[in-house]
Each structure stands twice: as structure tokens, then as C-alpha cells.
């Protein structure tokens, strides 16, 4: 009897060896990638080969995953591999964006100032929320004017030409006015570092991805809405629905210091784009926000501002001109013109040297437009690719005074009936 102990023990050892070999055979075959940008081998694709490439500007064969996301590049254990990822699923969150997206070859400190997106975006009022904070503190008598002093995070911009070179961090606990305290507790949900409100129509990431990762379907009437927080995409083709994850979402109630969410969403765009009482023109509901509003307006110009009005400047006349002046144009003669670069990122038009495009009052190219030989203009939707043809005001029957450009004046004649 006892003799068989040895035999049984040997057999059990053999079994455990076979088990070890079987488990070894179950391990996934490692998929190695050595992106030239890092020169270091990484094995993320062993599990993530099914992820779509995030954008044509960030080819995975060149970038890999780790240069943006961080993580343990050699680990084939999910917990360990993900333990050091920057910003969890979103490396573009402003707390980590410098490490993820920054660098002189990428989006900060570059020789070309138009590529310093991190410096511009983190100082923009969408990030600092300085305008809202200043106006609330002014409204309740905490500060004497509307000039921004506080932001979501402290930031210094010594070279800022706006007259504001630094913001302190807004800390509701330091405020004495109960309304400002309540504002701090309930109203800080719409800046670029804030987590979105609960609900599918509010789904967005933070940081760069708040706008550049399309978590909302571009078409609100579409039955297959993306509305996901698990999407691997960066784009400059930003649909109005993405902007709507923060904008046009309801009304502030200063008495209760609450935000009254709209209940009438989602519906078709004509009815849900603006508040029920608002007037708007055809442009404002057929185009996407980014078709007119420029990168500088949305992401700032690197200076600190107190209000949206300091940075937002596109008006009807930017494209349509006035009774006396045609809109400004530029004929593309330099192959390095920014317009070509922007058109490359979102190839909805085929820009060529010699084309004449509209430019803004500050000289920003409206690269999706074209001045046609017959004196009319063309605009191609950056999201819809729809072609719009339009005429200048000059020579038309418009009776408007050229300096009266606020929307109320144009809406008087050109508003859309709902």
C-alpha cells in the first residue's frame, strides 16, 4: 500500500507539470510594436489590436500607445499594464495633458506658435471658467468689476497681453458669500476639467477630448447614436452635438443657484438647437458650430480673458461682408499656409495653391470656404460635407447698417420660423 504513495506522488507531479504547460499554452501570443517615436518595444496590441486608429495624424505604427497613454509597456497583465496610465482612459485630461500630448514635436513649446494647443487650451475660458466665476462674484458683490481673478485652477501667463497675467484657483470654501459658495458647489460642471452631468446627452470626456473625441452622434435624428464614453477617436470634424454636451443645455437660475436642465431633448436639430424663444438664422442651424467659429475662438489665443466676448469675434459680416465691403479673402500662394494644414486634418475640401478663401478679421483662414469666380462663395460643412453657396451683402437689397452686427439686427429679417 505505502509503496503506491511514491507512484501517486510522481503521478501528481506529472499532472501539475502538464497543468503548468497547459496554462502556458493559454497565454496570448505577444504582439510587439516598436514605434519610431519612442524606440521602445510595447505589447499593448496583444490585447488591443481591435482598437481603431485614433486619427490619421497619430498612426499607431508611428506613435504606439504608450507615448500618449503611459502604462507599463511590457506587462501582459491588465491590472499592471494599466496601473500607470495617464488620466485613466483619457490622457488628454488637463491634469496630465502636458505629459501625454505635450512636447516640442507635438502640442506644446513648438516652433510654430499655432501648434501650442496645450498652452492655448489650458488658458482659454472654456478651461479656466474665469468668466463665469468673475461674473457671479461681481453679481453678488464679492468683487468690484468683471475682471477675472480666479480660475478652475491657478495659472500664470506672464506674456498675456489681455491685462490678466495670472489667475488664482477658485476655492468655494474660501468664499464668504453663500451664493458664490453655492455656485462653487453646484455650477462647476461645464468647464473642460469637469466631469459631465449624468445622462447620455451630456457624455463627453475632459481636456482636449471633451471636444475632439466624438462621444455624441453627429446627427441627433440618427437612431444609432454613438453616445459612448468608450471611443478611441480624435477629430477636428466636431459636430454641433458635441458642443451641445455643454452648450444649449438649459438655464441658470441665480435665485437657487441651480442649473435648470432642458427637458425637451433630444429632438431634431431645428427644434432643439436653441432655446424655444431664441431667434436664429439658417446658418445657425444648418451649419455646425465649427464651420464658422475658429480654433482661436474655441481654444483661446494663449491670453487669459474675463469673458467669452473677449475672444469670440466671428460675426455675420465675416463671411457675408457689409453693404460697403466684401468679406476679407486670401489667395493661397504659400504651400505652408495654415489653411492647407487644417484642410489636411479634416479633408472635406481639396484646397489648391491659387485658391482664394475667406479669412477672418484676425486673418484666420476659413479653410472650408472658397471665393468663386462669379463673385459668390462656397462653404463645405466640416462635419456634414454639405456644400453651401452664398452671396455677399454688397449689391443685395439688404438695408442694414454695416456696424450693427449683433445677431439681433440680422435676425430681424433672416430668422428661421419654427
Amino acid at each position: 500500500m505505502r509503496r503506491y504513495f511514491l507512484l501517486a506522488a510522481s503521478f501528481s507531479l506529472l499532472l501539475s507539470l502538464l497543468t503548468a504547460a497547459w496554462q502556458e499554452s493559454l497565454r496570448p501570443k505577444p504582439i510587439a510594436l516598436t514605434p519610431p517615436l519612442t524606440g521602445q518595444v510595447e505589447y499593448c496590441l496583444t490585447c488591443h489590436s481591435d482598437l481603431p486608429q485614433i486619427s490619421n495624424s497619430h498612426p499607431v505604427q508611428t506613435f504606439g500607445c504608450v507615448v500618449c497613454h503611459g502604462g507599463e509597456r511590457l506587462a501582459l497583465n491588465a491590472n499592471l499594464a494599466h496601473s500607470t496610465m495617464r488620466g485613466g482612459k483619457n490622457p488628454s485630461d488637463f491634469s496630465v495633458v502636458q505629459a501625454s500630448c505635450g512636447g516640442a514635436n507635438c502640442h506644446s513649446g513648438t516652433a510654430e506658435s499655432y501648434s501650442n494647443h496645450i498652452q492655448r487650451a489650458t488658458t482659454s475660458i472654456q478651461a479656466t471658467y474665469a468668466g463665469a466665476i468673475a461674473s457671479i462674484r461681481y453679481t453678488f458683490g464679492v468683487q468690484a468689476d468683471l475682471k477675472a481673478r480666479l480660475g478652475i485652477f491657478a495659472i500664470q501667463v506672464p506674456q498675456s497681453t489681455s491685462g490678466i497675467t495670472a489667475l488664482e484657483a477658485f476655492d468655494p470654501a474660501q468664499e464668504t458669500n453663500p451664493f458664490v459658495q453655492a455656485f462653487g458647489q453646484t455650477c462647476l460642471t461645464c468647464h473642460l476639467s469637469a466631469l459631465p452631468l449624468p445622462g447620455s446627452v451630456y457624455i463627453r470626456f475632459t481636456g482636449c477630448s471633451a471636444c475632439h473625441t466624438p462621444t455624441q452622434s453627429p446627427d441627433r435624428t440618427s437612431t444609432e447614436q454613438v453616445q459612448s464614453n468608450n471611443i478611441h477617436k480624435l477629430t477636428t470634424s466636431i459636430a454641433y452635438t458635441q458642443c451641445d454636451s455643454c452648450h444649449n443645455r438649459g438655464n441658470y437660475d441665480l435665485r437657487n443657484m441651480t442649473f435648470e436642465l432642458r427637458q425637451d431633448l433630444p429632438a431634431d436639430r431645428l427644434h432643439d438647437f436653441y432655446q424655444p424663444i431664441a431667434q436664429f438664422t439658417s446658418c445657425e442651424w444648418k451649419l455646425d458650430c465649427v464651420d464658422c467659429h475658429t480654433r482661436t475662438e474655441a481654444m483661446g489665443d494663449g491670453n487669459l480673458y474675463s469673458t467669452k466676448k473677449d475672444i469670440q469675434y466671428i460675426q455675420c459680416k465675416t463671411c457675408h461682408g457689409t453693404l460697403t465691403d466684401l468679406p476679407q479673402t486670401r489667395t493661397l500662394t504659400d504651400p505652408n499656409d495654415l489653411a492647407f494644414r487644417l484642410a489636411l486634418l479634416n479633408p472635406v475640401v481639396d484646397l489648391k495653391l491659387g485658391d482664394t478663401i475667406l479669412v477672418t478679421e484676425k486673418g484666420e483662414p476659413l479653410w472650408n470656404t472658397l471665393a468663386l469666380p462669379d463673385g459668390t462663395y462656397q462653404l463645405v460643412g466640416k462635419v456634414t460635407r454639405q456644400v453651401f453657396l452664398f452671396k455677399p451683402v454688397r449689391g443685395s437689397g439688404c438695408t442694414q447698417n454695416g456696424v450693427d452686427q449683433s445677431s439681433a439686427y440680422c435676425h430681424t429679417c433672416h430668422s428661421v420660423e419654427r
Binding site: 506522488a9 496554462q23 511590457l74 506587462a75 497583465n77 499592471l80 496601473s83 500607470t84
Partner: protein, 324 residues
């Protein structure tokens, strides 16, 4: 085996596994702060059977400590340290200390976020020793704070210094065992049964223990991977677990009581001294009672050893419980 628990034999077996798996690991391990953790990740995840080899090394090391302590307790609780085995008892104590030091140095060689706390705390304990502390610290760490010099020193100790000492002591320990007449039993005139177990039977029993141990180790190494954490980065805050390796948890728990020199250095050394002196200062086991559990003649030694062990286990549990 019913008498010895085969603990000594298993310790030798585990040491041999450690030697072989450790030699295999040396083909991949790179002892620099930048590459230590990533080389272990390479070994673990990318080298065929590399993870298994590392897990075997890890689990063998953990069990070597357990088996060594069981062996020590068996020797005390059966009075097997009676003269002329007192020197061999001290050699065994030395081997236990070496096993713990090898375990700690091996643990530090991971050089990832998981070991940062233990490395800093452990080396700072050395600094707390009066007069010689800072000199010892410099010798151990190779600078004013843990860095590349520390890693290469721990590596040197682990693969060479401590291993060589452990090898010599193991050989001496086994040689003394033979010289002292094999496993402790009463001298022939006092034995009731004059027959000894045959060489064949001894080998059969040890082989059985080894086969079973190997089975257990393989299964454990297949399904319970050794711990691993993200690479240590100078800038990152100490996010890793602030916890010592399990065999030092009792010391960590005592450190909460105050003075690090007293509780982190003096008390553990006192425990070691006390264990080492058991054969010299406490009543000796009677020759006639050798080879039996709990002989009356060395009751005091049994009580002392069991009380200390109970305290260590209690302190260890106290250190684990609040976290879970």
C-alpha cells in the same frame, strides 16, 4: 517523517529549486534602476515559461522561510538541540537569518513601486542604530539615499555574498548532522527499539515529501503569480503599498509602538539572540527523551519558543487585518 516533518529535507530541496530558478532568472534580470522592473516584466510576460520560473523562485523563497521556522520549532519542541548539537543549532539559526536576508534582498531587486516603502523603511532602520548607524547605512545603501549603488549592492549580496554564505552553512549544517549521528535519537543503550529506519526508507520518505512539495509549488506557481508593480519612478509619490514583506510585518507592526531603533532593531535582534541562546541558558533536554515531541526536560524552552512565535504571528495578523 511523523517525527521530523521532513522540514529540514524540504528546506534543502527548496534551496536547490531557488538556486536553479535563480540562475535562470539571472539570464534576464538587469540590475539597474531603469531596467530592473522592466526586465522582470520581460521575464514574466514575454519569456516562455519565464513567469513560471519566477513564480517558482518566489514561492520557494516564501516556503523556505516557513519550512525553516517549522524546522526550528520542531528542533526546539523535540529537544533535538541537546549537546553535541548546539553548534549545529547555531548554524541553523544562521541559515534562517540568511534565508530572511536573501528573501528581503530578492524582494528589493524587483525595484518597483511595490517595494519602495519597505526599501526606504528597512534601510532607514539601519540608520537609527546609535554611533554606527550612518556608517552601516552608507555601506548598505552606497550613498545618502537608495539609488543605482543600492540596487547593485543588493544584487551582489543576493546572488553572491548571501548565497555563498548560505551554501557553505548548508553544507556545514548537513556535515554536522552526520557527525552528530543523524537525526536526534537517544543513545543506543537508552533506546527501546534498536532498529533504525533503513537508508532506503529514509530516501523514500524524503522523496515523497519532495514530490508532494514540487506538485504544490508547481500548482501554486501556475495559478498564483508572484507580486509585481509598476516601475519605480523618482517623481511619482509613494503610491505603492506601505507594507513590509510578510516576514517583516511583525516588525512593521512593532514600529507603530514608537522608537524605531528599539522596536525595529533591538527587539528583533533580542528575539534572535534569545532563540540562539536556548540550548545554552535553558534546561537541557534529557538524552533519554530525544526523538519525542514535547519532552518534559526542556519544557521551559518549549514555552519560551511557543510564546515568541505566538507573539510574532499575532503581530503579523494585526498588521494584515486593518487593511482587509
Amino acid at each position: 517523517m511523523r517525527y521530523t516533518l521532513a522540514a529540514g529535507g524540504l528546506a534543502v530541496f527548496l534551496a536547490l529549486i531557488l538556486l536553479v530558478t535563480g540562475l535562470l532568472e539571472m539570464f534576464y534580470y538587469i540590475p539597474t534602476p531603469e531596467q530592473a522592473a522592466t526586465s522582470i516584466q520581460t521575464l514574466t510576460f514575454l519569456v516562455p515559461y519565464g513567469g513560471l520560473v519566477r513564480n517558482l523562485h518566489y514561492w520557494s523563497a516564501q516556503f523556505l522561510i516557513i519550512v525553516s521556522i517549522v524546522h526550528l520549532m520542531r528542533v526546539i519542541l523535540t529537544g533535538a538541540y541537546a549537546p553535541p548539537r548546539r553548534l549545529n543549532y547555531l548554524l541553523g539559526m544562521g541559515l534562517l537569518v540568511l534565508a530572511i536576508l536573501l528573501d528581503f534582498t530578492g524582494y528589493v531587486l524587483r525595484w518597483d513601486e511595490g517595494i519602495r516603502w519597505a526599501l526606504v523603511t528597512g534601510t532607514n532602520l539601519v540608520k537609527s542604530i546609535p554611533l554606527v548607524g550612518s556608517a552601516l547605512y552608507t555601506i548598505l545603501v552606497g550613498g545618502t539615499q537608495p539609488g543605482p549603488a543600492t540596487l547593485i549592492r543588493f544584487y551582489g549580496w543576493h546572488i553572491f555574498g548571501l548565497t555563498l554564505a548560505a551554501g557553505i552553512l548548508t553544507a556545514w549544517h548537513i556535515f554536522r548532522l552526520r557527525r552528530d549521528g543523524g537525526i536526534a535519537v537517544p543513545p543506543p543503550p537508552l533506546r527501546e527499539d534498536q532498529t533504525r529506519i533503513t537508508r532506503f526508507e529514509l530516501v523514500r520518505r524524503e522523496l515523497l515529501a519532495m514530490l508532494l512539495a514540487a506538485t504544490g509549488l508547481l500548482l501554486l506557481s501556475t495559478f498564483a503569480p508572484a507580486p509585481l508593480a509598476a516601475s519605480m519612478t523618482a517623481s511619482a509619490p509613494a503610491s505603492g503599498t506601505a507594507r513590509a514583506p510578510w516576514f517583516f510585518l511583525w516588525v512593521q507592526q512593532m514600529l507603530k509602538l514608537g522608537n524605531p531603533f528599539v522596536w525595529g532593531v533591538v527587539v528583533p535582534l533580542a528575539v534572535l539572540m534569545l532563540f540562539s541562546l536556548i540550548p545554552y541558558i535553558l534546561p537541557k533536554p534529557a538524552k533519554s527523551e530525544l526523538g519525542r515531541w514535547f519532552p518534559k526536560s526542556n519544557r521551559l524552552a518549549q514555552v519560551v519558543a511557543l510564546l515568541i512565535m505566538l507573539s510574532i504571528v499575532t503581530l503579523t495578523l494585526l498588521a494584515i487585518l486593518p487593511a482587509s
